[in-house]
């Protein structure tokens, strides 16, 4: 595969906006086996074969058909599955237990071209906690790397998974972070996504809320700075009755950063009494940033409630005046606001060590918990 098309918008819009999807030729090519300390209660499958995909990456009709057939279609899309299959990536297949959390740490070096995949089944009634870290060996390095990671979650009846992801990559790293979930009845997926650094990040997460009362809760916080770019695609496919999708995105853009957020709540016929909410609050700290957003609400069901809200720009004059009256200058205020956004998301991460690492990155030299 020479090129990959990712982050296709679930309902496309004008092409001149260049928001419908991204074609990329910087692809990770080396299969990388995940090494993690799998907790004793968890089981590891011998089956490591990747599934691939026969779905066209830019066909919403085919994607929708697959979702209705109870399949997982990830946020980045079918080309990521194809790439994983083509690279013959050994998929780490796990069955979770509630006893111990799983931590997967991915350290990337300059020149890496690694592609990895994990698929976790959360059995009925089990509440699992997973932390995934994507870290450059030397975050200050100028070296290039192109890496990708896919997480597929099969969430059983009355089961839940809390997935925490932290990204801290060097400024020339291209990174594909791909998530897909299938949620059975009352299956709950909670994601805390903290993006602190990375050259070009493609992030996608799609949840197939098939089961009655299944839910999705995403808290995403990002800091995009320098010449970094972030393209994210979050989608909730709400099929079951009384499903609930909550997507909250808080971000900070600095310097010459570029960001595109796509978030979709898709109420399908039969998703009676479902609710969905997506909010985005972006603090733009430079005049040279590019801040693009396309939040979709798609609906073919009468009895639902969907809302979206976005605030993009600078802090309000009231906040600035108040904080300046307390003796802070503009830079200090922006610094506080930047860190407050990231701290708020980081505080929700379950793994203590990971929380500490984030604090050390955001508040160097300060005493951490």
């Amino acid at each position: 595969m020479e090129k990959m098309y990712v982050n296709h918008l679930p309902c496309i819009t004008w092409k001149w906006l260049k928001m419908n999807g991204v074609e990329s030729s910087d692809l990770p090519v080396s299969a990388s086996r995940i090494t993690a300390d799998v907790p004793s209660g968890w089981t590891v499958s011998d089956d490591t074969a990747a599934q691939g995909s026969d779905i066209a990456a830019n066909s919403n009709a085919e994607i929708e058909k697959a979702l209705f057939a109870d399949k997982i279609v990830t946020g980045l899309g079918p080309d990521m599955d194809r790439l994983i299959k083509e690279a013959d990536v050994p998929v780490l297949r796990l069955t979770a237990s509630a006893d111990e959390p799983l931590v997967i740490e991915n350290i990337y070096k300059d020149g890496d071209s690694k592609l990895s995949a994990v698929e976790i089944t959360i059995p009925d009634g089990v509440d699992a906690v997973v932390t995934e870290k994507f870290i450059s060996e030397d975050v200050c390095s100028d070296g290039n790397a192109v890496c990708g990671f896919q997480t597929r979650l099969i969430i059983g009846k009355n089961a839940s998974v809390k997935l925490d992801q932290v990204q801290k990559l060097a400024k020339n790293v291209v990174f594909y972070n791909d998530i897909g979930t299938f949620n059975a009845e009352n299956g709950r997926f909670e994601l805390v996504e903290v993006i602190l650094a990375g050259g070009s990040t493609y992030f996608g997460s799609r949840s197939n809320l098939a089961g009655r009362e299944s839910s999705l809760d995403i808290e995403m916080a990002y800091l995009v700075k320098g010449k970094e770019a972030l393209d994210s695609n979050i989608a909730a496919f709400q099929r079951g009755k009384r499903t609930d999708a909550q997507i909250r995105v808080n971000g900070v853009l600095k310097d010459e950063a570029k960001k595109l957020t796509k978030a979709t709540i898709d109420f399908k016929t039969g998703s009676t009494d479902s609710v969905g909410s997506e909010t985005e609050d972006v603090l733009m700290m430079s005049d040279n940033v590019v801040n693009r957003t396309v939040p979709l609400i798609l609906c073919t069901e009468e009895s639902v409630e969907g809302v979206h809200g976005a605030t993009l720009g600078r802090p309000s004059e009231e906040i600035m005046t108040y904080m300046m009256s307390r003796g802070l200058d503009k830079n200090q205020i922006y610094d506080i606001m930047e860190k407050a956004r990231l701290d708020a998301a980081a505080a929700k991460i379950h793994d203590e060590q990971t929380r500490r690492e984030i604090a050390e990155y955001l508040h160097p030299g300060e005493e951490t918990e």
């Binding site: 039969g270 609400i297 009468e302 639902v304």
Partner: protein, 468 residues
């Protein structure tokens, strides 16, 4: 057949009646260079218009059919008649208009509205204007309101040429190119500096011929400090073959001027409404779009505001009601290209009976548009689960010194509210119609009274059978 003696009498037959096809000239079906040249010759175009048509046709053939919106595969240009001239030339007195055509506009209430509440009227029947008149006192203020053909060929020719299809170049999209190739009819308005036209001008477009297209061009120039309210109305009888509307509206709002452009669109449900509207607003100027979309089978309609002068402002207030066999893809585009510009977008959409509504928008804030403000609010009401409602708003912000907010909501009529109104003696139908009318209130209150009443009656009409 009823006449529109009062708005309360409104029913669908008011729009769906049709006259026998008695056109004076009809070009053959399809779209070829030969047809375009024949059309040009028939209309006696100046050379530059003829050349423009041919260039546009070339672009039309090169630009692909849009694949991001509603399916328009049912529209076959080989079957569309691009030019139908009615059996009359343009008159300035309704008495001189042939009875059959005059009756059509009387049933639509146009002559009556002209007497009561309009400063001027243009009435287009198929491809040409059949009536155009402007009140003497308005004319004496220096306001020019004339048919577009006369403007192109007459004393305003240079002004028209300077502005024609500059805001909507044929390269913009396939149907802008189509318009450039086969346009006919439409109006030209010029409001001189400082002149405030106290009551609105109106153009009404009636498409009677089955299988025909209407491609009128409206060019409005509101000069510095001037003020204008322009109303556009449109309707057509329903046929079993596709009709096409691909008009273009270009509005130049000069420094400190204001233009309000109101549309109540009630095309028949075999109509492909692929209309394009763009306003360019200079320093301190303002454009206000009021848009009611009720008719057509398929609509692509996104009035665009290009805010190029400091302090320029755009307001968009829209409502779309999609019922059975309708797919209305509507919304707006706003580009903030100067400091301290502001825009406000407020839309409502209602979907029922399998109808599809899509709110599609784009907001662009350029790096130099410091101090700009933008607020977008769209609310959708789903009346059943056979229908569909999508919101697709895009924002592209390139300066930190701006405030951009967006909110969208989708939901249903609350059972509690219906129950409350029924407890006060309303039937379920009446209760729901009242709630929907209230939901559309933000649009109707922006319209002149008689149009607001008409809009509410249209909603009531559409709501018939909403239950069960």
């Amino acid at each position: 057949m009823k006449e529109k003696t009062q708005v309360a009498d409104i029913d669908r037959s008011m729009y769906d009646f049709r006259n026998e096809d008695k056109d004076a000239y009809r070009i053959e079906n399809g779209l070829t260079e030969e047809i375009v040249l024949k059309l040009s010759e028939e209309k006696g175009d100046p050379e530059w218009v003829r050349e423009f048509r041919l260039k546009s046709l070339k672009l039309y053939n090169e630009i692909p059919v849009p694949d991001w919106g509603p399916d328009i595969s049912g529209l076959n240009m080989d079957e569309i008649v691009t030019y139908v001239r009615p059996n009359t030339d343009m008159k300035t007195d309704w008495k001189d208009v042939p009875d059959e055509i005059k009756d059509t506009f009387e049933k639509l209430g146009i002559p009556q509205a002209e007497v009561k509440s309009l400063a001027g009227v243009g009435a287009q029947y198929d491809s040409e204007l059949v009536y155009h008149n402007v009140r003497k006192d308005v004319e004496e203020q220096g306001v020019i309101y004339t048919d577009f053909e006369s403007a192109v060929k007459g004393e305003y020719g240079d002004m028209v040429r300077e502005h024609f299809m500059k805001l909507i170049p044929p390269t913009m999209h396939k149907f802008a190119a189509l318009h450039g190739a086969v346009w006919s009819g439409g109006s030209f308005v010029y409001v001189p500096k400082g002149v405030k036209v106290a009551i609105p001008l109106q153009s009404y477009f009636r498409l009677n011929a089955p299988g025909a297209g209407q491609f009128e061009h409206t060019l409005i120039i509101v000069d510095e400090g001037a003020d204008l309210h322009f109303i556009e109305g449109c309707s057509a009888p329903k046929y079993n073959v596709a009709n096409l509307h691909a008009g273009a509206v270009e509005i130049y709002v000069k420094k400190g001027a204001r233009c309000r452009y109101s549309t109540i669109e009630n095309w028949s449900k075999n109509m492909y409404n692929l209309n394009t509207k763009v306003a360019r607003v200079e320093e301190g100027g303002s454009i206000e779009w009021i848009s009611g979309s009720f008719g057509s089978h398929i609509s692509y309609l996104y009035p665009t505001s290009d805010l190029v002068g400091e302090g320029a402002r755009s307001d968009f207030t829209g409502i779309a009601f999609a019922n059975t066999d309708q797919n209305l893809d509507t919304g707006c585009k706003v580009a903030h290209r100067a400091p301290n510009t502001s825009s406000y977008v407020n839309t409502r959409s209602i979907s029922k009976g399998g109808g599809v509504n899509t709110f599609r928008s784009s907001v662009y804030v350029a790096p130099n548009a410091k101090g700009s403000k933008c607020a977008v609010s769209c609310t959708s009401l789903m009346l059943d689960s056979e229908s569909r409602s999508d919101t697709i708003p895009a924002m592209d912000i390139r300066t930190s010194e701006c405030d951009v907010g967006h909110e969208a909501k989708i939901g249903r009529i609350s059972d509690e509210t219906v129950f409350y109104l029924m407890s006060r003696g309303l039937s379920e139908d009446e209760a729901k119609a009242l709630i929907v009318s209230g939901f559309a209130d933000s649009v109707s209150k922006e319209l002149p009274l008689e149009y607001a009443v008409e809009m509410n009656n249209l909603i009531r009409l559409e709501m018939i059978g909403a239950i069960g």
